[in-house]
């Protein structure tokens, strides 16, 4: 299955690729940002894995490190960001010690991004197809005409009619622009596509269309997908597994069906409670009191403890260990310290 998907790729795999290794394995990733007053620990000890063809949802409130985690994979961080620990293994190759030049082999060619806000990510005075041709031309060193031809194929693949090929960004609708961004992400036939809130600025109908498109492309191309969102319904609809993050750490991780029906971490429960449910007759939504901690000096113990209704004395002193359950769910909470 795995070999079959990889065999479909038009571009060869990295040289040292180990076919038996998982597609992506992130261990204890620590990405910090340097600010005047110290290091902001935006991502502090995150581990997860991603299999071929799998879709992983990354959820959590704003500023919890979702985007930073994803951008750390191929080090597309702002200049003050630094990976200070952990490993990112793609095909069994650790990317963290690689130099920027060596990483160019992986950027966009193995891991690409569908940016949030397609209007801002597209140059207003350059034709969309020329911008989509860019990764082909510069990452794969194809000629300009070959790149443009590939761009046209890609646009066709994401459902943009061929008579719109010469369009500029403002001449396309919001949904079409997002489709164009997806086409750009697929340009080099990557193994993993990161969707950074790809549907956030779109209305419900277009959002549904984009999700259907992503799902279909994932199936047809054998892509693996990391979907960053704060919309739990999007995760429920498209993802196989979900990773709930809080303040730079993993709170809970597991199959979507398990985590959403039987949330174990108090934060996951609160998060699901804060989301409207079409079947229940609740009139008011739950809220989570307080606010996320300062990530320059995070709390010593569990980072959710100050806001947690079930906090115990141990919670504020020691960080909770990650406990794995038989149904594939992994939780970092003292409530489950002994029951596992």
């Amino acid at each position: 299955m795995t070999a079959e998907i990889r065999g479909r790729r038009q571009w060869p795999l990295p040289k040292q690729a180990d076919p038996s290794a998982p597609l992506l394995k992130v261990e204890n990733l620590q990405t910090h940002f340097q600010l005047g007053r110290g290091w902001v620990k935006a991502v502090d000890g995150v581990s997860f894995g991603l299999d071929d063809g799998e879709a992983l949802g990354l959820v959590g409130e704003s500023g919890c490190g979702k985007t930073t985690t994803a951008l750390s994979l191929v080090r597309l961080l702002p200049s003050n960001g630094k990976i200070r620990g952990g490993s990112v293994e793609l095909f069994g190759i650790d990317l963290v010690p690689k130099t920027d030049r060596q990483l160019d082999r992986y950027r966009w060619r193995e891991i690409s991004i569908v940016f949030q806000g397609a209007m801002n990510a597209l140059n207003p005075v350059v034709q969309v197809r020329r911008q989509i041709a860019e990764p082909v031309q510069y990452r794969l060193n194809q000629s300009e005409s070959a790149s443009l031809k590939r761009a046209d194929e890609l646009l066709d693949m994401v459902g943009i009619p061929s008579r719109r090929l010469g369009a500029y960004p403002h001449e396309l609708s919001g949904g079409m622009r997002q489709r164009a961004m997806i086409a750009m992400a697929l340009a080099c036939d990557p193994a993993i596509v990161i969707g950074d809130e790809p549907t956030t600025a779109l209305d419900a109908m277009v959002q549904a269309q984009i999700l259907v498109l992503l799902e279909q492309l994932r199936r047809d191309l054998g892509l693996s997908l990391i979907l960053i969102t704060h919309d739990l319904s999007v995760v429920a609809e498209t993802c196989d597994r979900v990773l709930v993050m809080y303040a730079g750490r993993v709170a809970e991780e597991g199959p979507v069906s398990r985590v959403f029906t039987e949330p174990r971490h108090p934060y996951t429960r609160k998060l699901l409670g804060a989301f409207p449910n079409i079947r229940s007759d609740r009139r008011t939504l739950e809220t989570i009191p307080g606010e996320p901690p300062d990530l320059v000096n995070p709390p010593a113990g569990c980072r959710f403890a100050p806001r947690c209704a079930q906090a115990m004395p141990v919670c504020s002193g020691t960080p909770p260990p990650e406990v794995s359950f038989d149904d594939g769910v992994r939780v970092a909470c003292h409530l489950f310290g002994t029951t596992a």
């Binding site: 950027r107 966009w108 990510a121 140059n123 207003p124 860019e134 990764p135 990452r139 010469g166 001449e171």
Partner: protein, 311 residues
């Protein structure tokens, strides 16, 4: 072999784009009017002999002082009895040359250094902008007064560079080096704001190098500024030439529109009611600048996809 084929198809692509652009430009009335006027003055500048006598006839008196326009002297004569039509036509060469060359120098230096300074930032930006500051505060006339004798001493008073006499070269160079800094500052400030836009980040992530980002993503976004700047620089260059002629830095053997206007002012043509001395060169200056503005407008509209009509 394959590289040759690729570059061949690239040129075909470029040619097709150029043709499409020409067709769209031809559809713009203002752009075409500007082009026609500019081509007309361009022909005047390149071949004045086609319309009037050779240069000598423009510097010699052929009528009486302040003769009004007549069949023999269509635009009348100036205070020394020189034919105004003749002088205006011959003046086109000097004014157009100075305007164009000074504009080219200003734009090349201003745009390239502005883009590089704005995009690189840091030390490079600091260094380039301090150099620009130096040129910004240089007084045009003082610089011209110092440079003119030096240059003439070096190349000789009668030396010509591409048919341009040394004194004119001084004017071109002086206008160029005193006005590039302002253009560089404008382009730099726009580049600074553009490089923070997300599409530049995206281009970087996608693998486009710094040079390509400047050329393909930032330059098209500052095109309207460049066009507007070209028009302004051309106008001010023609006027600066007038002023420099006024302090004796013009070339007395070759009439320019500035010199005719200057002569008219010296001889009090306006007070004597001799409007025909002032009108032809003044109207020429206005027409050329207007033509530039019209073309600039049309180009700006065509190059800026946002103002394009949907197909």
């Amino acid at each position: 072999m394959s590289a040759a084929r690729a570059s061949g198809s690239r040129w075909r692509l470029r040619a097709a784009q150029l043709r499409a652009f020409a067709v769209r430009y031809a559809g713009r009335a203002d752009g075409m009017i500007g082009l026609v006027v500019l081509v007309f003055f361009g022909i005047l500048a390149l071949a004045p002999e086609l319309f009037v006598g050779p240069l000598e006839t423009a510097t010699r008196a052929s009528a009486h002082a302040f003769d009004a326009p007549s069949a023999q002297h269509l635009f009348g004569a100036d205070d020394l009895g020189r034919d105004i039509l003749n002088r205006t036509v011959h003046g086109a060469r000097i004014s157009m040359t100075i305007g164009l060359m000074a504009t080219v120098i200003t734009l090349v230096f201003g745009v390239v250094l502005g883009l590089v300074a704005g995009y690189s930032g840091g030390m490079v930006d600091n260094l380039l902008m301090r150099v620009a500051d130096f040129f910004l505060v240089l007084p045009t006339f003082v610089l011209a007064l110092i440079l003119a004798p030096v240059l003439i001493e070096v190349v000789g008073a009668d030396a010509e560079v591409m048919g341009i006499r040394a004194t004119l070269l001084v004017i071109i160079v002086v206008i160029g080096i005193t006005s590039w800094a302002a253009t560089a500052r404008i382009i730099r400030s726009q580049t600074l704001s553009l490089k923070e836009r997300m599409f530049v980040d995206r281009a970087r992530v996608v693998g486009v190098g710094p040079g390509r980002i400047i050329l393909r993503h930032i330059l098209p976004n500052v095109m309207n500024l460049i066009v507007a700047n070209a028009v302004l620089t051309f106008a001010s260059a023609v006027l600066t030439e007038t002023t420099l002629s006024f302090i004796g830095l013009g070339d007395p053997f070759q009439p320019s529109w500035g010199q005719i206007l200057n002569g008219a002012q010296d001889s009090g043509a306006a007070g004597l009611g001799a409007w025909w001395v002032i009108a032809p060169p003044a109207v020429s200056v206005v027409l050329v600048i207007l033509a530039f503005t019209l073309m600039g407008n049309a180009l700006d509209d065509l190059l800026n996809p946002k103002s394009r009509v949907r197909r």
